[in-house]
């Protein structure tokens, strides 16, 4: 929303008599009789900026002087005008949590093109602030895990497990976990277009890659070191947000964005995609790895 259109008056707070208002036999309905319900903001979260700053990417939010270069250069703002980094940074810095929550379902849409970071005269790294804010929303339980977070988790769990990723596996796991049919119309066309032209050996090679996953040699020590670090950081972040104790959102996929709502004609027939974490010692692994483990069976 352009800054000059932002106002404290919201459509839902306007009381008009657009339908019919008869006074002394005359219909006086219309906007001339508009009343505005008064609105008082009392529920500030004084810790909001500190909480965002405690998460990776949010470290420099305090530098912002509201010039608007981020929103002005934003890729997503051009196609979704409600996507407004400058405004959200303002809300976070002034502690207006309830206002921020009105946009909670779109903040994850940042595509990390870094045009904002390029344009920012104060090195706020707005791209990082968007990521920190989406994580904050998920950690606090205000939103389910976004498709973007689900994708990041699937991708990263493969990297951490084996040192490398395999495209087909990332794609199929993502479509499954978000309840989308594997055979998307566009995917069918791509497979058809490519399959008719490629040599048979190419197909064999990619099938082999799906069975014998690409892997970095002697990766186990690196994997353990990374998992230990992530575990420590997770605990730090949770404590900064005052979330010590139980991890309710970690247990299953119930707290995840349901892309089936958006997919016309798709079926909820993928069933349970979770695979037991197998023979790994659960206690030695981080929460992240445990969460990721069920979508990434060890071999």
């Amino acid at each position: 929303m352009p800054i000059h259109e932002k106002s404290l008056i919201r459509p839902e707070n306007m009381k008009t008599n657009d339908q019919e208002l008869i006074i002394d036999g005359i219909n006086v309905a219309g906007h001339w009789s508009t009343f505005i319900e008064s609105r008082v903001i009392t529920d500030y979260n004084e810790n909001l900026q500190d909480e965002i700053e405690a998460l990776p990417g949010g470290e420099f939010i305090h530098r912002c002087w509201q010039c608007g270069s981020c929103t002005n250069s934003c890729t997503v703002n051009a196609i979704e005008p409600r996507f407004n980094p400058r405004y959200w940074i303002y809300l976070i810095r002034t502690g207006m949590e309830q206002e921020l929550l009105r946009d909670k379902d779109i903040i994850w849409m940042c595509v990390s093109c870094n045009k904002c970071t390029y344009a920012c005269p104060r090195d706020v790294v707005p791209e990082g602030v968007m990521k920190a804010t989406s994580h904050w929303l998920e950690m606090k339980g205000y939103t389910p895990k976004s498709p973007s977070t689900i994708f990041d988790e699937i991708f990263s769990s493969q990297v951490i497990e084996r040192g490398k990723i395999e495209d087909t596996e990332v794609l199929t796991q993502f479509l499954r976990r978000t309840g989308q049919p594997l055979m998307q119309d566009w995917l069918k066309e791509i497979v058809f277009k490519v399959a008719t032209k490629l040599p048979v050996t190419w197909g064999l090679k990619s099938m082999l890659a799906m069975v014998f996953k690409p892997k970095t040699r002697d990766w186990d020590r690196a994997r353990l070191a990374i998992e230990e670090y992530i575990h420590e950081k997770e605990a730090e972040h949770r404590s900064a947000l005052g979330l010590n104790g139980s991890h309710p959102e970690h247990d299953d996929h119930a707290n995840e964005w349901d892309m089936r709502r958006q997919e016309v004609g798709s079926h909820i027939d993928q069933g349970d995609v979770s695979v037991p974490a197998g023979h790994h010692d659960e206690s030695a692994r981080s929460d992240f790895a445990r969460r990721a483990g069920h979508i990434n069976p060890p071999h």
């Binding site: 093109c113 990297v159 993502f174 020590r221």
Partner: protein, 314 residues
């Protein structure tokens, strides 16, 4: 700061970091890069036992893990392969190695985390400055240059209208690319031109394309496909409006994104575009007389074979 092209100029052999994408969906980029290297007498020494750089995803789990992953690649290049230049054709890999280099030379906490993880993982810690990371564009500009390309190709791409598309990760954020924006001869972050220069040297007719560094939505290509499709459709239509017959790419994520969403734009939004999408290495390869099959052109979903025959590029 050593000038990147100076180092690269003296290196007919560079460390080669293909990354995961070039072994998967970006296979044609890998194939065509290797094909032109051998055609030009340049040696690529693949980094020993490399790992994923972290792509665009791991930083969202933890940015320092991404710094570590990229530093391990650089550590292997320096300590195992004894290379001081690593060339990464993938924009994501290139960006992440540059980012790691920047973080390790500016941020003590990043150094501490990388040191801790490297020693636990059992390999030497990478130290900033040991390796120079360059893109495939820097590599060709430095070793062969426009004159070399012009002499070898004799303007073979003449009459081919090309829109050069660089994407996000090659130029943004500016601070991780200290060698760019240093005046004449260096790459520009606002109006990149290295790919334009190389293809023009091969005779290509570069069109005036406004969306060189626009975003294709690659980070959300699957998780928010409609947004990516809209962004890509915009790029494709802008390229066609500026008269381009082919979009030259230098990033496997952009390339796959443009091809996938070209089809998706037609299926979901009824937006049909016919502009072809090719890696710049494929175009240079054709100009150098390398056969289409060796350049992996059969793997291009946008199917540029008819255009290649029409322009007598085989």
């Amino acid at each position: 700061m050593v000038d990147v092209t100076d180092r690269a100029k003296n290196h007919k052999t560079v460390g080669y970091y293909p990354g995961c994408a070039l072994e998967g969906t970006g296979h044609a980029y890998n194939r065509s890069t290797k094909a032109i290297a051998s055609e030009l007498g340049l040696k690529l020494k693949e980094v020993d036992n490399w790992n994923c750089c972290g792509a665009m995803e791991v930083k969202n789990i933890d940015p320092k893990i991404q710094t570590y992953l990229s530093s391990r690649v650089l550590s292997n290049a320096h300590n195992t392969d004894h290379m001081d230049v690593v060339m990464a054709p993938c924009n994501g890999c290139y960006h992440n190695l540059k980012k790691a280099e920047y973080d390790l030379s500016h941020d003590a906490e990043s150094r501490a985390v990388v040191d801790r993880l490297s020693s636990k993982a059992g390999h030497p810690t990478y130290k900033a400055g040991q390796v120079e990371t360059i893109h495939a564009l820097d590599w060709l500009k430095g070793t062969i240059g426009e004159e070399g390309i012009a002499a070898r190709t004799k303007g073979k791409l003449a009459g081919l209208k090309v829109a050069n598309y660089y994407g996000c990760m090659y130029t943004r954020p500016r601070h991780i690319f200290p060698e760019k924006d240093q005046g004449p001869g260096t790459e520009s972050t606002s109006k990149p031109h290295f790919m334009d220069d190389l293809l023009a040297a091969a005779g290509a007719d570069n069109v005036d394309f406004a969306l060189k560094t626009a975003c294709c939505g690659g980070a959300h290509t699957l998780s928010d496909s409609d947004t990516s499709t809209k962004l890509v459709a915009n790029i494709l239509r802008a390229a066609e409006a500026s008269g381009a017959e082919v979009i030259a790419t230098e990033c496997p994520t952009c390339h796959t994104g443009l091809e996938m969403h070209q089809i998706r734009a037609e299926k979901r939004f009824g937006i049909k575009t016919t502009v072809k999408i090719m890696y710049f290495t494929q175009l240079l390869g054709l100009a150098l007389g390398v056969g289409p099959r060796k350049l992996g052109i059969q793997e291009n979903i946008s199917d540029p074979m008819d255009l290649i025959i029409e322009k007598r590029l085989t």
